[in-house]
């Protein structure tokens, strides 16, 4: 029983920073790199590598736009990302209830 639930946990969200990115994007329309960095308290390189991993899975996508003349990169969750994240949350909840 428990093994089945663990199978439902998404491997992509094994890492706390990747799960953190998804948590933040689930409740924000979009968020820029520096805000994400401050919230998660990580270095640029570390954050960038986790972002690109999630991007490869098409759980999030990058929005590039200009604010005035300054380029601004922000991130947004995809439909796929949303459902993967909510499946992961339900699996976590089940794990708690089955203890």
């Amino acid at each position: 029983m428990k093994d089945n639930i663990i199978k439902d946990l998404n491997k992509a969200f094994d890492h706390r920073i990747r799960l953190g990115i998804m948590s933040i994007l689930a409740v924000n329309d979009h968020i820029d790199f520096s805000a994400l960095k401050d919230l998660l308290n990580v270095t640029d390189g570390n954050l960038a590598s986790h972002i690109s991993a999630l991007e490869k899975l098409s759980y999030i996508f990058v929005r590039k736009q200009f604010i005035g003349k300054k380029p601004n990169t922000s991130y947004q969750i995809t439909m796929e990302g949303k459902s993967a994240f909510s499946d992961h949350l339900s699996a976590l909840e089940k794990l708690i209830h089955n203890k």
Partner: protein, 198 residues
């Protein structure tokens, strides 16, 4: 959220990140309490200016009442900002970021609309509705901003709107409604929020 941390810890960390990334959580209850005290003092001064008559703005009293209102506004904002700034420092959260900006924009758009609407009411000789209108628009502003800060102020907003609407119908008592909405409710709510979050 590696293998070592329990699912309960993981979920609470997720919930914390969701709240911190989308809501301004430094809002201090003391900001509400101080605003409430200034409002009560302001209402007492208004009562003195009006000699106990209902709160109608006339050519004779407009200057004194405006002065009183502006004094209450400036003191409330100054002390409100100070207590919230202090609370954000204590919690180690930023005071000026995309979240606080979003909250302030959502608060001030209905608030400034209300301010302009009150000036129009005076201009249109419907000054008895100014005090109720401040309650209604303030309530709408709180309702709007509550999506981006502590959720509890949503109910404060609804109460302010209800008081404002009742005050419209009972304009003889509008100073009492005003003192209840801006004074009493702020003190009660501020105390509640203070003990809940600090």
């Amino acid at each position: 959220m590696s293998d070592e941390s329990s699912p309960i810890e993981t979920l609470s960390e997720i919930r914390d990140l969701m709240a911190r990334s989308s809501r301004f959580l430094s809002l201090s209850g003391l900001s509400g309490v101080s605003a409430g005290i200034f409002a009560l003092v302001g209402a007492a001064i208004a009562w003195y200016i009006l000699h106990g008559a209902p709160l109608y703005i006339t050519r004779e009293n407009i200057f004194m009442l405006m002065l009183d209102a502006i004094g209450v506004l400036i003191l409330s904002l100054t002390f409100g900002f100070y207590f919230t700034w202090r609370s954000s420092r204590r919690k180690g959260l930023p005071i000026w970021d995309s979240i606080s900006r979003r909250m302030l924009a959502n608060l001030f758009i209905p608030l400034i609309t209300g301010g302009l609407f009150c000036l129009i009411l005076i201009y249109r000789h419907a000054a008895e509705l100014v005090a109720p209108a401040t309650l209604i628009f303030y309530g709408l502003a709180l309702l709007n901003a509550s999506k981006y800060t502590v959720e509890d102020i949503r109910y404060l907003g609804i109460l302010e709107i209800a008081l404002g609407l009742m005050s419209c119908l009972m304009t003889n008592y509008n100073l009492i409604f005003w003192a209840t909405g801006f004074g009493l409710l702020h003190i009660v709510y501020g105390t509640f929020i203070y003990y809940k979050y600090e």
